[in-house]
């Protein structure tokens, strides 16, 4: 009996190893769920829209001004009208000093806009109206600096390029640029994301060793 020592610790060791082997086996063949397709991107985040695309399409009155103005509202109340009372009460002008309806609309033909010499501007060309007062921006717009072109960057034919006009982005009555389709921030691994406002090189160790380093600025 003395030659065979009692190896009592085996009673712990063997079950431990058995458990370990189960663990490793589990690691080898993990029961992973089938990867589902990631959530699709929302179409509104990448479809082409302009700030007033739908807005313009909903303007039912465009081109129909004659229904009323040719017959029963011929005379302006005053040349300086800026606050319509009845029919166009939904329109509020917020165009800075440009606060008179007849700065832009023609009295004798409401379908048209008025040019500097009192002649009409066809409603299809509102940029000519804006160019009266925003000449510099109009020049930029002609050069492609202001506004937007889509289509081809080296157009051969005129139809290769689509040019957006002023009223597709600005509401003439309230022209400050507004756009409401905003897309969410990235969901990247944390290591890419720096917290806002945190100074770089400012972890406690480097602070202790070399002090605060100046921020890079541009």
């Amino acid at each position: 009996m003395d030659e065979t020592p009692v190896r009592w610790w085996l009673i712990f060791l063997v079950p431990l190893f058995v458990l370990l082997s189960f663990y490793f086996l589990y690691r080898t063949f993990p029961i992973a769920p089938a990867a589902a397709d990631p959530a699709p991107l929302k179409a509104e985040w990448y479809t082409l829209t302009t700030a007033r695309g739908e807005d313009l399409a909903n303007k039912s009155m465009v081109g129909n001004c004659f229904i009323c103005h040719a017959y029963w509202v011929p005379i302006p109340r005053s040349m300086e009208n800026s606050k319509p009372r009845f029919a166009h009460a939904n329109i509020t002008l917020n165009h800075g000093k440009n606060d008179r309806c007849y700065n832009c609309h023609m009295i004798s033909d409401r379908n048209k806009y008025v040019a500097d010499d009192g002649t009409g501007i066809m409603p299809q060309l509102p940029e000519l109206l804006c160019s009266r007062c925003h000449g510099l921006i109009y020049d930029d717009w002609l050069n492609g600096t202001h506004g937007k072109w889509t289509g081809m960057w080296n157009p051969v034919k005129k139809s290769d390029r689509r040019r957006y006009t002023c009223t597709q982005c600005h509401d003439p009555h309230n022209p400050a640029f507004k756009y409401s389709t905003l897309a969410p921030p990235p969901v990247w691994p944390d290591k890419y994301i720096r917290n806002t406002g945190e100074e770089s090189n400012s972890d406690p160790y480097s602070n202790f060793l070399i002090g605060k380093e100046p921020k890079e600025s541009f």
């Binding site: 058995v18 600096t145 756009y179 990235p186 890079e216």
Partner: protein, 307 residues
Amino acid sequence: MADKHDSKISRRDFIAGSSIAFTTLAATGAALSPLLDARETPGIDEILQKHYRRLTTEDKKTIFARLEAEIDKKYSVKANISDPPPMDGVEFAYVLNIGRCIGCRKCVYACMEENNTSRDPQIQYIRVLKIKQGSIDLDSSSHDYPVSEAADPNYFYMPVQCQQCRNPPCIKVCPVKATWKEKDGVIVIDYNWCIGCRYCEAACPYHARRFNFAKPAIAPEEINPDMGYLSNRVRPMGVMEKCTFCLHRTRVGKYPACHDVCPTGARKFGNLRDPQSEVRKILEKERVYVLKQEVGTLPKFYYVFAK
């Protein structure tokens, strides 16, 4: 009794020994198990494929057919891989009007949609930095501002993507020459040649390069089947990718996807060598700013402050 013990292994020893042996086996299995997941084992054609710039037109045809078949197998999408060559007398440049950008991030998602980037883990080529007005202080900028902080008139929004440098650090560090500058000035990557060492990612001062840590996960119905070999074809796992100015679009005359989708018209794209192009007219007239000018990369992506 004692003799018997000497000649044979005792039961205890057997149990102890076999449990250790079994555990060792299982542990080896666990250590090697990642290989089971390696679904992207390359075929023999892929291993023997030559560098892009040595491929003949014939080679390209067979390679594109093979890639199309692979995409069909993986995503069941009928893709059409093309490889439009650079145009003569064309050097692409991008101009971005910081004064106009409102930080809506539509370009980011239009780019993802166009370029088949991975949705999970998410890969985006464009980062929109929100910068306090007054100076361009990139350190206090943030690119993960929530939607509610977009379009704030007190901030600049500055989208940053690959700057297509004239003097690109990323191609100098590539140990296998898998990334190079094309004749039209665009830096491209041969995804089949890239070994995924990520040196270029570290070398890029703009953080414009992205690594495919996992097999790109895209819902098949979202895949853009109109693919370019050097630009937006679905990438394999373990390669670098980045903005290529949408080569498959721009080399056939279209604008890049981020340009078309911008609702403000802040993004301008064109041929730098054409004096009539809008980018030339802007660069001649406006105050131009180049990101991290002091690192000497000479980008072809310009920022301007204009109305």
